[in-house]
């Protein structure tokens, strides 16, 4: 079935709403407007305003309401327009949703799914373009996933809804338009995926950087280098085994991460490789991250700030010749 990523998200939401009356959607402009990225278009008409619930601009309150609704027996799916706005609700996610099971000695459960758009590439400047996936991946109690393909956008939600604890789903804004021919199927949230098999170097990435990593692998292949591309899919907990098994075969690794380099997920993956695969490395681990600057508006500056296929090729070439 040919689907866009946006269609896949919508189909997954519709399926979840139809399958379980306890599932509700909450978010800003998800109903009458149809979703900022049109991912929820049509759902209000089909399922009504009680279950497709437009919220006022009150991120902390409607995310916290999601926490409470989950405690009260519903299965809320809360949409936050972008990760930048999620910072207004960070208290409810980090101090609340993530802690309640432990802080209550295991009594409380918060089966809450939070979806949000992330990433740059649409010239939205420094308050609508950042990637804070690593902030959430830092927090025990959360599961953090980043569907990078149409199939994962379609299949991850159902798996996330089976969890008894909070799951944060990051949808990269550059991915909504991609298209693929897929059969809807559940997705295993515990495993990373090898998106391209290769022998000379491992490129580890996630989310919106996957298409760039695959483009870089094409360029490298044309130059005679076989790069393996791993899509982490789940950013917490990390599937370290898949990464380490690949590095054990290729002996070289480059991590591509749209977050800023300092304190990044790329740094975490590099540390894991350094701790557990040091003796199988033939070169220092490379990283391609966003430039350490608030995202600028002008197109050429935005592109210069982001990881590019060319930068990935250069980083892989560097570890091959180290």
């Amino acid at each position: 079935m040919k689907l866009t990523y946006r269609d896949a998200v919508r189909d997954a939401l519709r399926e979840a709403l139809r399958a379980d009356p306890r599932v509700i959607l909450v978010g800003v402009d998800i109903g009458a407007y149809g979703g900022t990225y049109a991912a929820t278009r049509g759902l209000l008409a089909e399922l009504g305003p009680e279950r497709v619930r437009d919220a006022p601009l009150a991120e902390s309150a409607f995310v916290g309401a999601g926490v409470g609704a989950a405690l009260g027996g519903l299965k809320p799916i809360v949409e936050i327009m972008t990760v930048n706005f999620s910072l207004l609700a960070l208290d409810q996610i980090v101090n609340g949703a993530a802690t309640l099971r432990h802080m209550s000695g295991g009594q409380l459960e918060v089966p809450l799914v939070i979806r949000m758009a992330t990433g740059a590439g649409r010239q939205l400047a420094a308050q609508h373009s950042h990637s804070f996936e690593n902030w959430f991946a830092h927090v025990p109690g959360l599961r953090v996933v980043a569907p990078a393909t149409v199939a994962d956008a379609r299949g991850m939600l159902a798996t996330a809804l089976r969890e008894r604890d909070p799951v944060v789903i990051f949808e990269h804004v550059q991915l909504y338009g991609i298209e693929d021919d897929i059969e809807p199927a559940p997705v295993d949230l515990d495993r990373a995926a090898v998106r391209r098999v290769g022998t000379d170097a491992t490129i580890v990435t996630y989310g919106g950087s996957l298409p760039r990593a695959l483009a870089a692998a094409d360029l490298l292949a044309a130059a005679g280098t076989s790069a393996e591309v791993i899509d982490l899919r789940t950013l917490r907990p990390l599937d370290t085994e898949t990464v380490l098994a690949s590095v054990a075969r290729t002996h070289r690794a480059v991590i591509v991460d749209e977050g800023w380099r300092t304190g990044s997920l790329a740094g975490e993956v590099a540390a894991i490789i350094g701790e557990r695969a040091f003796w199988s490395l033939d070169a220092p681990v490379g990283r391609v991250c966003s430039a350490e600057v608030p995202m600028p508006y002008a197109k050429h500056l935005e592109l210069a700030a982001l990881p590019s296929a060319e930068a990935i090729v250069a980083a892989v070439t560097a570890v091959l010749h180290a």
Partner: protein, 318 residues
Amino acid sequence: MIPSREQALGMLRAMVRVRRLEERCAEDYAAAKIRGFLHLYIGQEAIAAGVLPALGAADSVVATYREHGHALLRGLPARAIMAEMYGRSGGCSRGRGGSMHLFSREHRFFGGHGIVGAGLPVAIGLALADKLLGTRGVTCVFFGEGASAEGEFHESLNLASLWRLPVLFVCENNLYAMGTALARSEAEPEIHKKAAVHRIGSEVVDGMDVAAVTEAASQAIDRVRETGAPWFLECLAYRFRAHSMFDPELYRDRSEVETWRTRDPITQLVSRMAGAIMPEDIAAIEAEAAAEIADACAFADASPLEPVEDLLLDVRAP
């Protein structure tokens, strides 16, 4: 309202249980058996004693970090509360929460929240669940007047009113947000007026008068259950003790505290009900409370520590 003898004895019993439990907590803190923050409720007992008995078992409660009394009067056993204070496995949160984070799923007591204002959105969600699941449950959320400076307060009142949710907001106005006097933090010090701008009805009640709180709370809870709409109860009260055990109380005069102590909710009730509440009633209630607390502390003392091997339990479902 003038309570009957039986009602008055129930109110007195509730307040004495909370008062004596917390006095013991202060002693145990001095003896280093309890650590971390410890926020005592002493002086404000009439609020929890007036509101909690008016709720049903299917209703939900959300409270703050000053919640020992709310937990006890919601029905959490004193044993589970004291063991939590001691950081033991027999504690209601198995030693993971401490004084600020008492929880009981069984009693629908949803915390124990340490971030000012953060319990309000959670209460909105609990009420939304009740509404959509058709349970007729009421969610009662307690918070101090300091929370009304938080954005979450206004966001939550707006949502409760906009979505017409069965929430009873109980503002415990004790005049100080930690050390900041109300007049120094609020341009509008009459907190209930903030409910009005969100089109939520409200009542102001003397929070040192347990009979008045009981009457106002019962009516408010009935109203919320009948209408499905939120209501706001502002209880004017005073905290006799410091904000926490680390507070030298530089921000208020001893004389102010002493003046308020003349309105102690326990002695007020006893003197008002003189003739109905007899000295032997008081002695019996005190003895019961003392026995309950002694038993709770003995249980907590005997309760084992959580094994360190279990450190990582209950971060996610197994």
